[in-house]
């Protein structure tokens, strides 16, 4: 190793070298992408069921219970709304419940985007606590913008209402999330919150912010002043752990924005990955946005039952969960769940029929009852942690006989599936192809996997020994030895065990595509996709050699580190990016791309390496090299009606603008910290803003901070553009 460093130092002399040394996100503690999963059950402690009149029988009429409770809350009519998404607002994590990350605001164009300037920078004050607290931050928030309010949610899940034009704080609400929960989760994050307008005549909290926090609570606060809505749940709080069973802080942790449709708050939650088969249930529930009463629960291993678990039982333990954002179609009355896997990602033995059916699937539920309407599986018998991380994107797919309501689902394995969202049938052909076979005893591999052959696939190029890379022949050799020792037979190489016990998973479990989602510009009919091209090197650890303790059993000194003990499976898991000992990726760049895809042809219009090594370099020294080599990235993009795409996400602290049609970079600006989040766009007072949370990300090893930044055209330019219309 010292030799490698010596050589490396020599190389540093040459500017060229610094380029290569991307200690990137070196060792994420034996895990990586945010994920979670659940497992098979033992109805251990039966927490009190939610204080709801929800029924055990499917199809039972809930209309009786709901209005009664609504009357108690003082509503005249039972109908609330989520505001329409237009140029002036941003009402869901993905823009609207359709999650297309598109803003109809069109003031900023490819011609004037170069004039953008930072108009304000807001500091939340919520900075990562000192290392001894063992809480790691990832400011993954996409704010909401409704009226003259910008709702920011910080990693410790403080909600702050910021004036969108000035960046001045109006009020904040601190839920005081339990420290143990934040220590136990992969990283402290709040991807977003939901906004809802209560029916006319509602006595308190006419407008609300509703969201889940990592210690298992759902909260409703007044969107005007941040005070808890006392008529919601108990004094503004719903215990999401009701019916979940054993309560290990953080094991069950909502941190993605809820989706509200037809007055129903729909939310899943994260379950920390690879801890134990006996994990919290992946149950997805719907609650009344007015009262906080649970309306239904989709506990997939209790088909046909949509109420709380039977007395003395919990929701089925360890089932596939939904940790990311959900999309919804109000007209069809459907919600679209991007599903994860059962607990213990890499062990598929003993899964139930229902778990097999829904793992890594896109599943549509009836928003009023929680009953599944259709399901489409993106990975059969997933033993790679290819859970769906991207929020589904609903679009009008241009068809021969007019637009077809479609849902586009991006996946970690680099596939983009296009389905008819009424019934789940593919609109672009899906082919089952044979994949490598054979895994651990007691488990099996699916003979085929689905490929969306008419759409571009990402990060599925076949690696060879010659693909191995480094900054010198020595670290390259190290990578090559690992490559030779590991099992690798292309995409979907099955997990193996044995002496070396390692396999290469490519794309890795951060994608392909992950929680940043994809963006769709319906004017230019371009789908914008940011992808990672990074392999993982994973090792099965024989049970007797597993040292990691599962969540809740880790000693004080190991707080904050999450191994992969996979209790209940025959082996533990040690999973990391495929990097050399000096933290450099084992394959040559690009490690990340931004691409534009033409709809409906599926033609790849452009594909550009995203990000430079400017803020990475040997020994933590920034290289300052500004060549777009394409870095790993997390977070997503926003597309605007002006034909401009904005994205940060990469390992360098920049936000960039691209021409949505050509992919040409038009503008960039230095961020105060890493931009691993989704920018949003809206107009306020006749001026279009681009807003991004720039607070860095723990496993991406980008600069941490607490900033929210806003960009706009200079006042005179903005006015001129507006007048010119």
């Amino acid at each position: 190793m010292s030799l490698a460093i010596e050589l490396r130092r020599g190389l540093v002399l040459g500017a060229a070298l610094t380029l290569l040394s991307l200690p990137a996100f070196a060792q994420a503690p034996s895990q990586q992408a945010p994920q979670h999963q659940p497992s098979a059950s033992s109805g251990s402690d039966a927490s009190p069921t939610p204080s709801t009149g929800a029924q055990d029988q499917p199809g039972a009429d809930r209309s009786v219970a709901v209005p009664a409770s609504r009357e108690a809350a003082g509503a005249d009519t039972p109908v609330g709304t989520v505001p329409e998404h237009d140029a002036t607002n941003w009402v869901n994590y993905g823009g609207s419940n359709a999650a297309d990350h598109f803003s109809p605001a069109d003031q900023i164009t490819p011609q004037n985007v170069g004039k953008l300037e930072k108009v304000w920078e807001f500091h939340t004050g919520d900075k990562e606590p000192p290392a001894d607290q063992a809480i790691e931050y990832a400011f993954e928030n996409a704010p909401l913008k409704v009226g003259s309010n910008l709702y920011v949610c910080t990693p410790s899940q403080i909600v702050i209402d910021v004036d969108p034009a000035t960046g001045k704080e109006k009020w904040r609400f601190d839920p005081k999330v339990k420290k143990e929960a934040l220590q136990n989760i992969y990283h402290a994050a709040c991807r977003g919150v939901a906004y809802w307008q209560a029916p006319e005549g509602t006595q308190e909290c006419r407008t609300r912010i509703i969201y889940g926090v990592s210690d298992g609570r759902m909260l409703a606060i007044d969107a005007e002043d941040g005070t808890p809505c006392t008529s919601f749940g108990e004094n503004g709080t719903v215990d999401m752990l009701a019916g979940i069973g054993e309560k290990v802080p953080g094991f069950f942790s909502p941190n993605s924005a809820p989706t509200i449709v037809d007055d129903v708050v729909v939310m899943g939650h994260q379950v920390v990955d690879n801890q134990a088969l006996d994990a919290p249930s992946g149950v997805v529930r719907g609650w009344d946005a007015l009262t906080g009463k649970m309306l239904w629960a989709w506990d997939l291993d209790r088909p046909g039952q949509y109420g709380p678990p039977p007395e003395g039982k919990s929701f089925t333990r360890g089932t596939p969960n939904v940790w990311t954002m959900i999309a919804a179609d109000k007209e069809l009355g459907l919600i679209y769940l991007p599903m994860g896997n059962r607990a213990d990602d890499y062990w598929g033995g003993g899964r139930t029929e229902q778990e097999e059916k829904y793992t890594a699937s896109l599943t549509a539920l009836d928003v009023k009852t929680g009953e599944p309407r259709w399901t489409f599986q993106t990975v059969h018998h997933d033993i790679w942690d290819y859970d769906l991380g991207s929020q589904p994107t609903l679009v009008d797919w241009p068809g021969k006989d007019g637009p077809v309501p479609a849902v586009i689902q991006a996946s970690k394995q680099g596939e983009i599936f296009v389905l008819d969202r009424r019934n789940g049938r593919p609109l672009m052909p899906v082919e089952e192809k044979r994949v490598p076979q054979g895994t651990s005893e007691g488990d099996h591999t699916a003979p085929t996997q689905p490929f969306s052959t008419a759409m571009p696939a990402f990060s599925q190029d076949r690696l060879t020994g010659a693909s191995m890379w480094g900054v010198s022949p020595i670290d390259q050799l190290w990578c090559r030895i690992q490559f030779q020792k590991a099992r690798y037979e292309g995409t979907f190489t099955p997990p193996v065990e044995g002496k070396s016990g390692s396999w290469i998973e490519f794309p890795g479990d951060n994608g392909g595509m992950d929680w940043g989602g994809i963006s769709y510009d319906p004017i230019n009919k371009v789908l914008v996709v940011n992808t990672n091209r990074m392999p993982d090197l994973k090792v099965k650890v024989p049970r007797e050699e597993v040292k990691a303790k599962p969540i809740g059993q880790r000693p004080e000194g190991e707080k904050g580190s999450l191994g992969g003990p996979q209790v209940g499976a025959p082996f533990g898991i040690n999973s990391g990016k495929f990097l050399s000992p000096i933290g450099v990726p084992c394959i040559a760049p690009p490690w990340g791309y931004l691409s534009g895809i033409e709809i409906p042809s599926g033609k790849l219009l452009w594909k550009k390496p995203l990000g430079t090594p400017a803020d990475q370099g040997p020994f933590g020294i920034s290289s300052h090299i500004r060549i777009p080599i394409g870095t790993p990235n997390n977070g997503g993009s926003v597309v605007t009606a002006g034909g401009v795409t904005f994205i940060a996400a990469a390992l360098d602290d920049y936000i960039r603008a691209f021409d949505t049609r050509t992919g040409e970079q038009l503008w960039e600006a230095r961020l105060p910290a890493g931009g691993q989040a989704n920018p949003i766009s809206f107009t306020e007072g006749g001026r279009q803003y681009i807003v991004l949370a720039a607070g860095g990300h723990h496993f991406m090893r980008t600069k941490l901070g607490d900033s929210v930044v806003a960009y706009a055209l200079p006042e005179n330019t903005a006015a001129a553009t507006t007048n010119g219309k």
Binding site: A4, E6, L11, A16, A466, V471, I474, L477, F483, Q484
Partner: protein, 137 residues
Amino acid sequence: MTDGTTTYPARSRAHRSYTAGQWLLMAFGVIVGLLGVPLLFGGAYLIYLGGSAYYAIAGAGLIAAGILLFMGSMAGLWIYALTFLLSLVWGIAEVGFDGWALIPWTVGPAILMIIALLFIPVLRSTGRRVAQEEWAR
């Protein structure tokens, strides 16, 4: 072997003072040789695993070049140059003319090549001095 063959310089060091350039050359020889060690052994392991033979060959080349450079022999420069050429040719054969992919094959080896070339004057004077001392005996 008798006195006056290639083993000679090592012995002669005991009663010889070195110039700064010679000290640097010896240090460079040590570095080059040490860099070859992991390549040779790791490379042999890679061959055993069924991988490329390049690293073991390059490692052997670096070790030989390092020893000869340490001894002040111009042959060390030639052997390094051959190893460097081998890296270029092998790299291009494996990944083509992809600039990024060629980095491990070219950048480090080229830096060492440049440093080695800078030692030519030292190697020349060392060589002459060795020759003179040999002749003087």
